[in-house]
């Protein structure tokens, strides 16, 4: 019965063969471990109708409600967007956009009236948006020196090569160096509420709390440690070419000046796509149940410093409320609903197919 011994599957893994002289010779028999014999216990999933079809229905049943929820949430978010680039002749900022030079001393201002047809409750976030601005260009993205921005004094005076050609100006190191910093957005936007009674009320815009916590507290630090005098700290450096004032004059607030100026930090967090928005200000909700932004007429006053016409860019101002899932984002909801429905539909179709055509195989399987 030799054949049976070798063919038989030894369920317990024991082949009892007493080779001649097996005792004396060192047996080279491989070890009988589950691993070596490839008998490790294993889970062998199979895509059967019993597992796949329910999976489809479950995915559908999960995705559709989520989608609906997202969609509703997104729809409840109020968002207002205004383009103030000034491309049209009719636009108030047309003039500013036409005659532009980086070094003009006289700022050009323009004011754009707009009407909010819905009142905005809770916090309102004010963004500026740029289009066709390639913050994600490889050369742009790398053109910064994180050591310098982290307050490294050596890097302050010797900016990294990555910053070229914005590393030195007039033989002085640029602080902050690099193309990103150099092209920092420097329009200033102000919002006025045109009271129905005719007065123009300036709305208070909060300029802190707009940057990531890690950026503000870890990544960006002013040089010179805790030295409150930034002018001293930035001694020997020069301002970026396009800037009007040095970095230590970005804000009067000590906690928001220099490298840790939040507008600067926000700008330095480069966008992934050529059309992007960045948080500019926050309109804090007022304490007494009053609407943050009531319905009515508003005026956006722009100090027009930032040229985008040369590369056909656009500038926008966006006002938006926010929910647990962030700002207005209809895509996610629709996508979820769509995917959920497709899954559900697929489940049904597969079920039909399985019942109509798939049966034959399974019955055959079982009879085997």
């Amino acid at each position: 019965m030799m054949a049976s011994t070798y063919n038989a599957k030894d369920e317990d893994g024991h082949i009892t063969v007493a080779g001649p002289g097996g005792g004396t010779l060192r047996s080279r028999k491989p070890e009988n471990t589950a691993f070596k014999q490839q008998r490790l216990p294993a889970w062998q999933p199979i895509l059967t109708a019993g597992t796949v079809l329910p999976a489809f229905f479950v995915i559908g049943l999960i995705f559709i409600p989520i989608g609906i929820g997202l969609y509703v949430t997104s729809n409840n978010i109020k968002e207002f967007e205004i383009d103030y680039t000034g491309v049209d002749m009719s636009s108030p900022c047309f003039n500013c956009s036409q005659n532009f030079s980086w070094n003009s001393t006289r700022p050009c201002t323009c004011s754009i009236p707009f009407y909010l047809d819905q009142p905005y409750e809770s916090n309102v976030f004010m963004y500026y948006g740029l289009s066709n601005f390639y913050q994600n260009h490889r050369r742009y993205v790398k053109s910064r020196d994180d050591s310098q921005l982290n307050g490294d004094s050596e890097a302050l005076t010797k900016p990294s090569k990555e910053c070229e050609p914005y590393a030195f100006h007039d033989n002085k190191p640029i602080a902050p160096c690099g193309a990103i910093a150099n092209s920092m957005f420097n329009d200033s936007l102000e919002l006025f509420y045109n009271d129905p009674n005719g007065t123009k009320v300036q709305i208070h815009l909060m300029k802190t709390g707009i940057a990531w916590w890690t950026d503000k507290h870890v990544k960006f630090r002013n040089p010179g440690g805790n030295n409150p005098n930034l002018t001293v700290a930035f001694q020997g450096t020069t301002k970026p070419v396009n800037w009007r004032k040095p970095v230590y004059e970005l804000d009067s607030d000590q906690e928001n000046d220099g490298f840790i100026n939040e507008d600067f930090i926000v700008w330095m967090r480069t966008a992934a796509l050529p059309t992007f928005r960045k948080l500019y200000r926050i309109i804090q909700k007022k304490k007494d149940m009053v609407l943050t932004l009531p319905r009515g007429n508003y005026t956006l006053e722009v100090v027009y410093n930032y040229p985008v016409r040369s590369f056909e860019g656009r500038k926008r101002m966006i006002l938006s409320t926010i929910s647990w899932m962030g700002g207005k984002n209809p895509f996610l909801g629709i996508a979820y609903i769509t995917v959920g429905s497709v899954c559900f539909f697929l489940g049904v179709v597969l079920l039909i197919i399985h019942h109509k055509y798939g049966n034959r195989n399974n019955s055959a399987d079982i009879s085997n």
Partner: protein, 1402 residues
Amino acid sequence: MTVAKDISDKWFPIVLPLQRKKQTGLDGVKPKKRRTSEEERRVRANDREYNEKFQYASNCIMTSKYNIITFLPVNLFEQFQEVANTYFLFLLILQLIPQISSLSWFTTIVPLALVLSITAVKDATDDYFRHKSDNQVNNRQSQVLIRGSLQNEKWMNVRVGDIIKLENNQFVAADLLLLSSSEPHGLCYIETAELDGETNMKVRQSVSVTSELGDPNNLASFDGEVVCEPPNNKLDRFCGTLYWREKKYTLTNQNMLLRGCVLRNTEACYGLVIFAGPDTKLMQNSGRTKFKRTSIDRLMNTLVLWIFGFLVCMGVILAVGNAVWEREVGSLFQSYLPWDPPVDNFLFSAFLSFWSYVIILNTVVPISLYVSVEVIRLGHSYFINWDQQMFCSQCNTAAEARTTTLNEELGQVEYIFSDKTGTLTQNIMSFNKCSINGQTYGEVTDPLGPQQKKLDFTPFNPLADPDFCFYDDTLLESVKVGDLHTHEFFRVLSLCHTVMSEEKSEGELVYKAQSPDEGALVTAARNFGFVFRSRTPGTITTTEMGQTVTYSLLAILDFNNIRKRMSVIVRSPEGRIRLYCKGADTVLLERLHPCNQELMNITSDHLNEYAADGLRTLALAYRDLSEDEWEAWSESHRCADKATDCREDRLAAAYEEIEQDMMLLGATAIEDKLQEGVPETIAILSLANIKIWVLTGDKQETAVNIGYSCKMLTDDMTEVFIISGHTVQSVRQELRMARERMIESSRTREGEKVEGMEGWGEACFMGNGFREGQEEDDPDVEGGGKKLRCPPPPPHPPPPPPPASPPPASPSPPSNLMDNISGEFALVINGHSLAHALEADMEGEFVSTACACKAVICCRVTPLQKAQVVELIKKHKKAVTLAVGDGANDVSMIKSAHIGVGISGQEGIQAVLASDYSFSQFRFLQRLLLVHGRWSYLRMCRFLCYFFYKNFAFTMVHFWFGFFCGFSAQTVYDQYFITLYNIVYTSLPVLAMGIFDQDVPDQRSLEYPKLYEPGQLNLLFNKREFFICITQGIYTSVVLFFVPYAVLSNATQSTGEPLADYQTFAVTTATSLVIVVSVQIALDTGFWTIINHVFVWGSLGSYFTIMFALHSQTLFRIFPNQFHFVGSAQSTLLQPVVWLTIALATAICIVPVLAFRFLKLDLKPQLSDTVRYTQLVRQKKRKMVGRNVGGAWRGVGSLSEGRLGARSGSRRSGYAFAHQEGFGELITSGKNMRLSSLALATFASKHSSSWIDTLRRKKHTHTHTPPSASGECSPAPSCVSGSVPPLSNSSSVLGGSQDTPIEEETDTAPAQTTQTVPSETPATPAPASEAATPPGPAHAHSASILTPAAVRAHGGDSPGGWTLTLGTVQEALFGWKGITARTTASSSPSPPCSTKEASHVE
């Protein structure tokens, strides 16, 4: 590429510390270019100064490549010769150019360094072991004659021209000229197994003048000079001249002892070193073996090239995009982002961007691909090495994968070329049956019945060989009662041979036979009381029934291939002269005295019977010679012997003259023992659609015999064509006719299919008729020698022809027809015909004919022809070939086949050394191919599919991003992610899948050999699959880019900060990518062991851990310039929107895949899916019922044990001579006799008196005790297995039948014999399921192997042959080739049908 090339032959020496193997040189020797090519070699003995002039190589061998100092530079240099490494180095250099660099340098250097160091470590380990083995060999001791005295020297200090002394069983240290030996006439014996694999001993003789020198003192003064050929690798040739004392002596290979040989049976000998160290023929022969690549390798390389093309295309597209962008936008955007200094126009920028994108997109072919492939293969190799079921406990050898690069090709084999001797057979001959004076003896062991006990000869004959097995005690009785014929019969066996005996101590006889057949016969005679003790040139001393008899040997009429017989003429002590002859029955029966007619008929019948059992037969005869006759003949013989011209012919004529009018004594039947499990293995392999060709140097008859006994040929075969033409025309004609016959018969069968099964007999008859006709016009075939008759009443109808066969009427061209031949044909082709068939103009014809046959046997082929046949199939069929062999003559075939398998048998290790896989039993081949090969292929395919998928998914995201970042080669991901993605985040799960995955368990793939087919058809990974993979990868990349794009572009955090910043986008995309590919690998993994779980979850875990670590404040504080992503992970992954995005992307990526796979599984399940599914069902059931159904397989394992004597005796007699001629001469010349053996005669007689007493005593008791008392000796496993009989002709026509003992069947049958699946009905109409067929769907699945069609063998002459038509049923069950129209017609379950048929048969 890095590791691929040489991991095979470098890695494995580690596992084989066997120094001898090393010595034979796996790695070859670096050719020393130290001197200009040598024209001739002059060596003067004992003159070191003289010889030093020539600067011959010393005997120190060095197979290692490096030393400590050279290792690093040399190894690096070697590694950078690999294309892949150089390519990655090139990328690295590109990355150092700041204008181009889109990635940090470490993204390339980390993987590259990893790969280089892994390879370097491996190389270093290999080299270390090589150093070790070199040292070991170099430091062996040898005795060198220095200044007249023998001194021990290390091998490496032996110089050319030294005289060294060798002792018995020592390895020869260098190539020596034999000077003298301790044996007479300067003879010495060597074993050349290490050199050429031949185990038989060879004789070497020194030149007579030097043989007289004898002792060291004389030798020390020997100052002969040898002038000879330069070092070369020809093992069988040597020419040189010895100049000594003004005389010239010619030297040939006969005088040489080559390094690697072992001295045997010679006390000591002296030799002059001619070639040393690397110049020895052994080292010259150990060339580097040709590197083999698998087809997947080649496909992979093609695909990689395609991918490079694709990469360049992508690069060009993006560069063009960059040009356009820079012109349209970038130039305007310069106020914010000026061009880099050297860039002054958009075209240059585009050019740079092209290279930048080449860097970024190079991850479509990551360097880790090659490393991973190697790791997976290495893993598979270890699994082969570790497999207990491929471990042979008898020889204590486990299977061994000697190359690691070929594993997946084992899953694609279509052709197996097998050697016969030692591979299919054990090369052990056992005396199995005999016919004496019309009485047949020797029942073959019947494993079905109660185990017959082995005869115990010891009480009867103390000289008996204890290993001898015989089971019929009537023969022993017949000897004991002194039957004259029986005595004479064994006397022939004890006298008529050329065996040498050696008797170390009394009674301990060792026979040295030229052929195992002879050994078996002489041993049989020995056990039956006719013990051959010793011989001298003129005498043979035997012990006959305890009495020493010395015959004088008058003549040996030696064997040769034409005579096919040998005779001896002896004079008995009484003075009677008798000629004893043994030979092939075909030859011998013609030369009998007419009065033997009646006995001849009976014996002839017996011979037929034996032949039918696949035994090798010999007929024995004698002739009494009168003194005058002898004198007369002796005179004519002397004349012939002395003749100078045509000596051979004259001798033959003289022999012919005397070998006449002989009296028939009987016949012997020797079993050429098949290796264990050969028929089963062949059956299973052919079910797996693997064609098996036997290529043997053996004779046609023997080969055909073995073909039958291992079930390659069956009597059910429609036809067996024999091609043995001697001329080109005749071979061509025979091939054509065979082909026509096949087509014709195939058509007939088509017709039959329509008409029903009645036509079978006719078809068979026609086939038969043709065969007879063919034999008639073939003069070379002995009449009746191998008439392969069709059994008159066919026990089985043919199987339903595969539906693929062409419609009968279609006049399609023959080539198409040949592909669709239905029915079973076999082809036997002779060596000389093969030579013609292999000629260029006939190749095609031969291939198309041979490939239409189920079995092909090529006999009398030379080693070169073996390789040619393999090459032929490789060339014409584009199929994966596997050659399996055990001897040196198989080396060429093993090397030229895609996969070479060496059987580590008795024939040395030459084949094993040349092979890619080695194990000790042919039957392990089924496990190697069907289990390991299949798994390897499956795993490798799944691995590659997934690997390409994941890298496309990963890399193509950059492509899409290019359109949004001004084609600036900005990466989507963090550079660390890019570095680690392939080597950390996604490598282990796919490696685990590649190493551990199983679709079906091992026993199932043996159970359903059809599972092997996808590999042969290359279905799992081909260009189509590749495109599907990359399409899926690209689809995934689209989803992975555009879903985050769409979601994040407008989204903000819940704190109001926008999410569309680059870092958040990068983290989101990377996380989705990792999750999607992890889900995908989870879907792809079919066998979730704990390792897979650890790796999959571990990879995900490591991704998050590493990401959080890299984005942590700690690292940032230390290297602010390196870790820009500080805080990104935290703030991003806290956002619900991000997770929703990831979930959405995952769902969009996976759902279509899931739906597609489900549909495929549901509508077009592969066999493996079905098996897997049934497995699942079975497991559930097992859990429920708690019943062990595993017995089914066990039943199959024991199939085909039964001796099925039902074959209708088609006579395939073979004659059992396998030995060389010329030994008779050596014996009569007495050259090979030792003085000690001449003295044996006296010794034997001294011993005999006590001996005979014992015999008498024993004989007395023996007759009164039942024989069972002495049967304590249970046969050794090999005995039993050796008698595994050829299977009956009632076996499945598919050739896959298995036979099982009744007792096995009865307990499994009720469970298994369930509903005969409809399609089976046409397959087995005549045979019937004897067992009841209760509808038992619960056990139905187990029936798939033990099929319901248990058949009682047709014809009552077998004790019960149960046949299971494994193949038929599988074919039917799984409808692999679709179910025929017939099948669907008879759709009702068949139990009633089969019972009806049962009664019909009964």
